[in-house]
């Protein structure tokens, strides 16, 4: 019927190359990918900037006090975050949430602390908010009242207060690709390989699942792709089978990456030592940012500052509208629709960006 289909997009704009794949178009690949050193640098710089700010905040409260406080190091922060990531699993199991919620929440917490510091926001609250947010974004939502009532010492507002902050720190990029789904894919696809018994595959899969869970406690998701992590977990459980599958897919290059990933998972995939974490938590209570603690001088000062800014903005806007109205002909009526429209627009515009 139709001989030539006119294309809406010229065919040479994209080519069907592997880089034009859905994963590489995802925000996970575009924005949340680091090298190991880049990760360390990011955390270090975040930490030092935070220490600087908090030191000043302490100075406002009580000059000279900040020298006595030992702030957390990036390693301390990392350990604390890791502990709370390891607790996500228990909490999700309590609510019978599917694994995708757990994995997404872990990713959210990890990414959140690439943009914020533990001294500003305690990971316990961030964890609760991240799980709630993850349940919503993965389409397994749970009502807030039910959620808060099942967690001791938690009110709904504790969960909601941080929700926007977490979402903003994630850049509103809520979709996360996970290794456990890739592992399931490997499990299914290895069944198409010739001469492999289902029993072998199944045993390997069960063992790999534990490794994938462990990988969530490491930084693997920020460095490698989910399929690579899944293959590495499978490789730990059944090296020969994993390599055979990779070759069958025509991706033998990936095999060289696997040892590094496996090392990372096996070394970092264990929950941290509780004693050390408890000690870090104690120190955190002292070096917490006073601006976030209700009632301190720094907090009140911050409030006052924000009030002043908001007031200034309001006055500026009122002055603007007044100027427009003065400039407009009072008897304009229908002859000055533009002026009327300008004033309407100025009244409705709400410039929230500072």
């Amino acid at each position: 019927m139709v001989t030539a289909i006119p294309s809406a997009v010229p065919n040479d704009a994209f080519s069907a190359s592997p880089s034009h794949s859905p994963y590489e178009a995802s925000t996970q690949h575009k924005h949340w990918r680091y090298s190991r050193t880049a990760l360390d640098e990011q955390r270090a710089s975040l930490n030092s900037a935070a220490v600087h700010v908090i030191r000043n905040a302490f100075e406002i409260d009580d000059p000279g006090s900040s020298n006595a406080i030992s702030f957390l190091s990036p390693a301390d922060e990392y350990l604390l975050v890791k502990l709370y990531i390891s607790k996500v699993g228990q909490l999700c199991a309590h609510f019978h949430m599917p694994e995708v919620v757990e994995a997404t929440a872990c990713s959210y917490i990890r990414r959140f602390y690439l943009r914020n510091t533990v001294m500003d926001w305690h990971p316990k609250n961030v964890m609760l908010t991240a799980i709630f947010l993850a349940s919503k974004t993965t389409n397994h939502p749970i009502p807030l009242e039910q959620y808060a009532s099942h967690i001791p010492n938690t009110t709904p507002s504790d969960v909601l207060d941080l929700e926007f902050l977490v979402a903003q720190s994630l850049g509103f990029e809520f979709v996360v690709w996970h290794a456990h789904r890739a592992l399931w894919g490997i499990y299914l696809d290895t069944q198409t390989l010739p001469d492999i018994s289902f029993h072998t595959i199944h045993d390997a899969y069960i063992a790999s699942v534990a490794h994938v869970r462990a990988s969530r406690l490491s930084d693997a998701e920020l460095i490698y792709t989910p399929s690579q992590i899944a293959l590495a977990c499978f490789h730990i459980a059944a090296p020969v089978l994993a390599e055979q599958w990779a070759k069958a897919k025509g991706e033998s290059d990936v095999i060289s990456l696997l040892p590094a990933i496996s090392d990372m998972i096996l070394q970092e995939g264990k929950p941290p030592d509780l004693e050390r974490v408890r000690e870090i938590d104690k120190r955190l209570k002292i070096c917490k940012n006073p601006e976030k603690v209700v009632g301190t001088k720094a907090y009140l000062k911050k409030q006052a500052e924000e009030e002043a800014k908001a007031k200034e903005k309001r006055e500026k806007k009122a002055a603007e509208i007044r100027a427009l109205e003065d400039a407009r002909d009072p008897f304009g009526g229908e002859l000055d629709p533009e002026g009327a429209a300008k004033i309407e627009r100025a009244k409705q515009l709400d410039e929230d960006d500072d």
């Binding site: 090298s35 789904r181 894919g185 990372m264 070394q267």
Partner: protein, 362 residues
Amino acid sequence: MSVPWLKGPQKRAAPGRVITTPSTQAFLGGVKDATGKTTEYSPMIPTYVESCTSDRYLNPNLRLLVSSCYHKMCESCIDRLFTLGPQGCPMCGKILRKMAFTPQTFEDLVVEKEVAVRRRIAKEFSKRREDFSDLRSYNDYLEEVEDITFNLINDRDKVETEARIAKLRVENAALTELNIQREEREAAIVRAEEERVQREQLERAEEARLLEEDERMEREREKQGIIDILQSTDKSATKVIAKSRAAAQKRALRKAPTAAAQASTSAAANTAARMRSTVKDEPHVPFTDDWYTHQDKFVLRTQYGDPGTDALVRDLVGRDVLRAGGYDIREAWDRAIRTSVVGLAVQPIPNTSPESAMLSAV
């Protein structure tokens, strides 16, 4: 005093039939429809009558009539209260006569009242845009009319509103007369059109019937003819029948074009009219893109060993308890396998400085 609506079951109208009791004809404000298409609103829902506290549950044939002050009362109440002459309405006290009750047309009495008011106003004030020199004065007139209508509907400033009506009537006396005539003419045209259409339909039905009759007669005659021939001649029966059938076919072919032609001309006229109003259909441009789907990396099977989803696939729990309509496990498998092959070739970002084991060692 005649009590038409209480004359017993044979007078009771079935729900949906038009009521033409004297009261409907007398009461000018109600919805009186000459074409006979408006029916009475009589819901078979539980209805409570305030004036006598009876309801439809006790008396299924309860019929509520509406007074001129727009209050509803059942027939027995009306009979009880107004047989001996004009009385005050039990709800608002306005003096009513027994004749002043109409059956309800609309579910909402507010609507009923509004319709009555608007009918009255429309009859009196029906000027059009052509009767005015400019748009402004036309709009002013419309606003005045609407103001009056609003006041009447909501019983505001009764005296003042009546004065305004009188004033307007005087102003527009001449034009109103013209407009009434114009409207009547238009209504007549519409009626004529309707009648014509109806007549045409009847004619066509009649024609079709006649045609069928003719055909039947024709067949009867044929059969009779064959029988006669068979009786009188010695020719073989099959040959006779074949000859007569051939003759019948020839006759049918001759008739068919004319009948078909008739039908096709009318059909063609209809489609031509429709075609003129339809929009051109442009060739569809499909959305094209060039995503690499990794389809070459795997072949999806219809069956996998997957104990985790076994209960789901075989729906062991019960009929579609776990699955929604349209659910296909192969889509989940496809997504999983695709996730496992996508991104395998992505190289991690290389380290910029010598690898520090600062955080990795914890």
